[in-house]
Symmetry: C2
Subunit: 216 residues, 2 copies
Amino acid sequence: MAKVLAQAPARKGPQTAIRIREAALELFSRLGFERANMAQIAAEAGVSQATLHYHFEDKFQLWRAAMLQLRAVIGEEERLLEAAMDSPPEVQLRMAMRLFLQISWRHPALGRIVALEGMAGGERLEWLDAHLIGPRNRRLAELAKAAIDSGALKPFPAEMLIITLQSAAAGVINLAPMMKTSFDVDVSQAPARAAHEQLILDALLGGLLTDPSAMT
Amino acid sequence: MAKVLAQAPARKGPQTAIRIREAALELFSRLGFERANMAQIAAEAGVSQATLHYHFEDKFQLWRAAMLQLRAVIGEEERLLEAAMDSPPEVQLRMAMRLFLQISWRHPALGRIVALEGMAGGERLEWLDAHLIGPRNRRLAELAKAAIDSGALKPFPAEMLIITLQSAAAGVINLAPMMKTSFDVDVSQAPARAAHEQLILDALLGGLLTDPSAMT
DNA sequence: AGTATTTCTGACTTTGTAATCAGAAACTAA
DNA sequence: TTAGTTTCTGATTACAAAGTCAGAAATACT
């Protein structure tokens, strides 16, 4: 008995899809596509699992909807960069690198997802390249090339700077568990953020040695 | 009919466990713990899935057995470093960093696994720290601290150098799919290896600018 | 009011994967 | 040869996770 009784009711408001997207971004960025499961996302959003499939056809489409929320972040970065468009390339490059690092800190989800999917390859990476990170990567490489051509930087393959920057930005966030385990140090807080930014910018653009001539 | 007929026979030789370990390392490093599945590993090793469970109790223990194969790599690194034990700390540090990068290139599995598990945290990371990477990380940090104390390096949090080095080493291997997608460049080959090693060492220890005073 | 539409859900199906197990084949020792 | 041990396997179980669906509840429309 009491079988067909209380079918649970509905209408969580028009915010439902938004809450789902936000919960999805949170979990996808923290756990990655496969480890984040629909049940968790549904619970986090406060809806049933079936509701996820009502608003989004399948897991991949939900993932894309979640990722699209990051477009504003990239857009903001782009806008700030345009302000420096008339500076010499090495100044623009430095600014672009600083922005890259700052945004990685402010929105750890972006760096985590790029690292996660960038390692795996596949259709999600291709989507990210087309809709999120491709233009930014290529703009950075162009800046590096221009700075090299102008003689401000030593010649080196420009893509290597991207990969180093991306690795550094993502690594400091993503490898926080390793640093905690190996050193019992929490590198995810503000002081570490400042130290890391300075290290990367100083190192990649200034040199770490107090006397660069001392060691070839 | 033909039901209890040909039960398939056995004896693949004493190499079986070794082949399984090797196949497991290959797949765990390429795909990570969860995406690599027992069926694939069994197929790669040329045995049935049940044989995996005969030699190794469960997936986690197989993973640990696979990881132990990397101990020789770390051991070799350690031995090479001891040869330079009497040099000044910044020379030792430079050598340690170069070894770190070279070994990451020669054994991509190590860097991939550290990146994969270092992002996720959990019991596998703790095992890695205890049995594989912890001592190396701490030795590097000590070297950096010594070099800073001797005045050869600008002061900075030594752990940040580890995370940057680890990120760079792992990143250039792991983010190869992203570089391929964004730039259609293959960074997993020897020429890229050399360029990257030089960039990291030059940058982190020498400075990238031709004129360091030009840009504060 | 009644009817249609939208939003949501519990229950179900399907699929992929780790783990178990009884027993076959090969090897060893008597 | 025969009895016992080791190595290996197909078949099965157990379980987790994505995706489907009929229908309930709220809202909108007439």
